[in-house]
């Protein structure tokens, strides 16, 4: 059983719908450590050694956050700036994260038609998340495409929310139990675009 660390960032969690639903679906899973960054560091004073320990003691790192300005909420940037130290995360002797699996679980207001060339946001989610992918590459992390919930501004129905949350739960369980076909997953646009297709048969 693999251990999963969910690094969660939402600056206004009280008003969150989607992320709250996602969180509720996975928070109590065995093998999952849910770590709310804004709650832990309201003043942004990130405890770097503690964060590094957390990373080292888990096999899979998930960055869960709403999509803000084609990127992450501010504290995740601060987290990366401080925690991913030279010769720890990267550099010739920086192998602390090497071989770990990581992906983003993001929720966005725009839907898939906005996220393409000619669409209102001009680029695909995959293009817009390339900095994150490059970071994973530098840190020798095995990158997976994002788990995405799009089109929130269209107003997701209650069932749809529940469905997405259930997908999120299944994804984490599959990863935890090593039942996800990583090679096939990497070819997808989103992890949750066709979950059944990338689950290994038992």
């Amino acid at each position: 059983m693999k251990k999963i660390l969910v690094l969660f960032a939402h600056p206004a969690f009280k008003r969150s719908k989607m992320n709250a639903a996602l969180r509720a679906a996975i928070e109590d899973l065995e093998g999952v450590t849910f770590h709310d960054l804004y709650a832990s560091y309201p003043d942004f004073l990130i405890d770097v050694p503690r964060e590094q320990d957390l990373c080292e003691s888990h096999d899979i790192i998930v960055f869960q956050h709403p999509f803000y300005w084609y990127s992450t909420p501010a504290i995740l940037k601060e987290w990366m700036d401080l925690v991913l130290e030279h010769e720890w995360a990267y550099g010739s002797t920086g192998n602390a994260l090497a071989g770990k699996i990581s992906f983003q679980a993001l929720t966005a207001g725009g839907d898939i038609t906005n996220y393409r060339a000619g669409g209102m946001n001009m680029f695909t989610i995959r293009e817009l998340t390339t900095p994150y992918r490059a970071t994973a590459n530098l840190c020798k992390i095995e990158w997976l495409p994002p788990f995405a919930v799009l089109g929130i501004h269209q107003g997701l129905s209650e069932e749809e929310c529940i469905q997405r949350a259930e997908e999120y739960r299944r994804t984490l369980i599959a990863l935890r139990d090593e039942r996800l076909d990583l090679d096939r997953a990497k070819e997808c646009e989103f992890l949750n675009q066709d979950l059944d297709a990338i689950l290994k048969q038992v």
Partner: protein, 618 residues
């Protein structure tokens, strides 16, 4: 009595007129005093009587000055200076002695030459240190070198006093052996003498390290200021007597006592208590030097004395320059070193008299030499001005990096007035940021406890100007008042604003009204004592009630911001009318709730809405 008061009045009056004039003319106070002395002396208006007695008495100013210098030198610092003291000081004294003695030997018997060489090797601690301090050059690196040499010279006086009697050629005058009357150390055999001397120094050390603290604390507890002053004076005078008794220089003894007490929490208090006495005594001492210039003699031997003065300054200058070169001082420092120390010193008056009474030097020659020394001392401040005008200003352009260095060095000093519960944590924070505040506190038990924890705490009332001065308010960047007594704190602010307009001020106010009173004085950095912890506790409360930590944090920040924004408005109302203020204050509290509520609604939601608006599809 009247006679005494009259004399005192003349001395003080002359100083009051001459020193401000001299300062105005940028000549420094020492020159002012010297000129005042000439004017009121026997060759001027002839207003004063027994100059020699006055000079002898006021020499004590030098002793006090060395005590004060010692107070500023922690033992560790002194130890660091051992090389310049022994190296520079030693070579300066030996070389000057050798050159002068050899020069004299062409015309005088060798015994006299040796005595003169020894005596003239010394420079004037009083004039030089006073000048350096006045110009703020004490803590520069040439300043330290100069000080080292002076210190060595003061040490060297002791063996000189031992050597001179051995040079006697004429019969010893009857008045010789006018040594200490209580007990004559010279009657003891050599080894006993050494033991007595060591015991005396040991006594100073033991008293300074162990006994002084409880004594000072007990005296501070009486809260009678003049008793503290009396203790400080008694200490200095007592040590001088002890030193004279065992045949050591009193200046050296009090210097040692000063060094021993440099780590004490009463250091600044001692400093500010002794300082005025030292100042006055030294001032009168300088006046008496001016007055002792014997113009009849000088006129009669104009050529000889003039030549000797020039010769003395030249020889000493050359030796100093040579020493400075050997010790690799940079150009600017080298010249300062040379110009500062090229004169005879006040010890020469003592030593020449001593040599005369011991039958080493004849009366006439002594008179001439004393005039030479006095004139060279008179010229010393002028030489320093010459150095500043000619060399320092020219070299400054050539080496611009030097002075900038020094500014940085002295920067970032903070005086923390009041070290109660609030001050303690504040002090800890500053120390953790690498800033070591100078802490003043008026509670002697408090001071004692904090000292044990390694804080640099000094006992004293921060609203006393002299204590602020001694704590370095002149050079400090910032003063923080956390005095528990609001009235005292206001007083301190006024005092600082008046005397140190460049010193930044930050204060702790007990409540809103206290804060307004500081605002009345134009203070900008004001923190209300319990406000910070109230808000933090509020944040904790919200979290315990289940608020998101980040939200609780933001509410605290927002609340503080809002509160700050309402301050000027409330202040306005407070200024206009106190009664309306009270009612408005309550209303404002209600307003505040309103404002806060709005603010929280706006906060993130507004951002979210803005985004939605940019999505036409929704």
């Amino acid at each position: 009595m009247e006679q005494f008061l009259m004399q005192l009045f003349i001395f003080l009056g002359a100083a009051v007129i001459a020193v401000p004039l001299a300062k105005k003319a940028k000549l420094g106070s020492v020159l002012g005093y010297l000129i005042a002395g000439i004017v009121i002396g026997p060759f001027g208006l002839a207003l004063i009587g027994d100059i020699e007695a006055v000079m002898h008495f006021t020499e004590f100013g030098v002793v006090m000055m060395l005590f004060l210098v010692g107070l500023e030198l922690k033992p560790s610092l002194l130890w660091q200076m051992r090389t310049p003291i022994l190296g520079m000081g030693g070579s300066q004294v030996l070389l000057s002695f050798a050159v002068i003695a050899v020069a004299c030997a062409f015309v005088l018997p060798w015994q006299q030459s040796v005595a003169i060489g020894l005596t003239l090797a010394l420079s004037s601690t009083a004039i030089v240190l006073q000048t350096l301090r006045e110009k703020g050059l004490m803590n520069t690196s040439p300043g330290q070198s100069i000080f080292s040499v002076l210190l060595f010279q003061d040490l060297a006086v002791i063996p000189m006093l031992a050597i001179i009697p051995l040079l006697a050629t004429a019969g010893v005058h009857a008045e010789a052996h006018h040594g200490p009357s209580l007990f004559d150390i010279t009657a003891l055999p050599g080894w006993m003498r050494l033991i007595v001397v060591l015991l005396a120094i040991g006594l100073i050390y033991v008293v300074g390290t162990y006994a002084s603290r409880p004594i000072f604390r007990a005296i501070a507890a009486t809260r009678v200021r003049e008793i503290f002053v009396a203790t400080a004076l008694a200490l200095v005078i007592g040590i001088s007597l002890l030193m004279t008794l065992v045949g050591l220089s009193p200046a050296l003894g009090t210097f040692l006592a000063g060094v021993v007490l440099a780590d004490s929490e009463y250091r600044h208090e001692l400093e500010s208590d002794i300082e005025p006495f030292k100042g006055l005594l030294l001032g009168i001492f300088f006046i008496s030097i001016g007055a002792s210039l014997n113009f009849t003699l000088i006129r009669e031997q104009l050529g000889l004395i003039g030549g000797l003065v020039v010769g003395l300054i030249l020889i000493k200058g050359l030796v100093l320059y040579f020493v400075a070169r050997v010790f690799r001082m940079p150009g600017n420092a080298r010249w300062m070193f040379t110009f500062a120390l090229a004169q005879g010193g006040e010890f020469a008056f003592v030593l020449f008299q001593f040599a005369r009474t011991n039958g080493v030097l004849p009366q006439g020659l002594t008179q001439t030499l004393i005039s030479v020394v006095a004139i060279s001392m008179f010229l010393a401040p002028l030489l320093f001005i010459l150095y500043e005008k000619l060399i320092a200003s020219r070299l400054k352009e050539a080496t611009p990096e030097r002075p900038a260095d020094e500014i940085e060095e002295s920067g970032r000093s903070v005086i923390l007035a009041g070290f109660g519960r609030l001050g303690t944590d504040l002090g800890r924070l500053l120390i953790s940021a690498g800033i070591k505040p100078i802490i003043l506190d008026h509670d002697e038990t408090n001071v004692d406890v904090l000292r044990r924890f390694g804080f640099e705490v000094y006992y004293g009332d921060a609203t006393r100007l002299d204590l602020l001065e001694a704590a370095g308010a002149e050079e400090a960047d910032l003063i923080i008042s956390t005095l528990g007594d609001h009235e005292k704190s206001l007083e301190l602010v006024k005092l600082v604003q008046k005397h140190y307009p460049n010193l930044k001020i930050a204060v702790n106010a007990e409540d809103r009204k206290a804060a307004f009173e500081f605002m009345d004085l134009g203070v900008n950095t004001i923190r209300r004592e319990t406000f910070g912890s109230a808000l933090t506790l509020g944040q904790d409360a919200l979290e315990l009630l289940g608020f998101d930590p980040y939200e609780a944090y933001k509410i605290r920040r927002l609340f503080r911001k809002k509160d700050k924004e309402t301050m000027p408005e409330l202040y306005q109302i407070y200024c206009e009318d106190l009664d309306t203020y009270r009612s408005m204050y309550q209303k404002h509290n209600a307003n505040l709730v309103e404002l806060m509520k709005k603010d929280r609604e706006i906060d993130m939601e507004e951002l979210d809405k803005a985004w939605t608006a940019a999505n036409p599809e929704t």
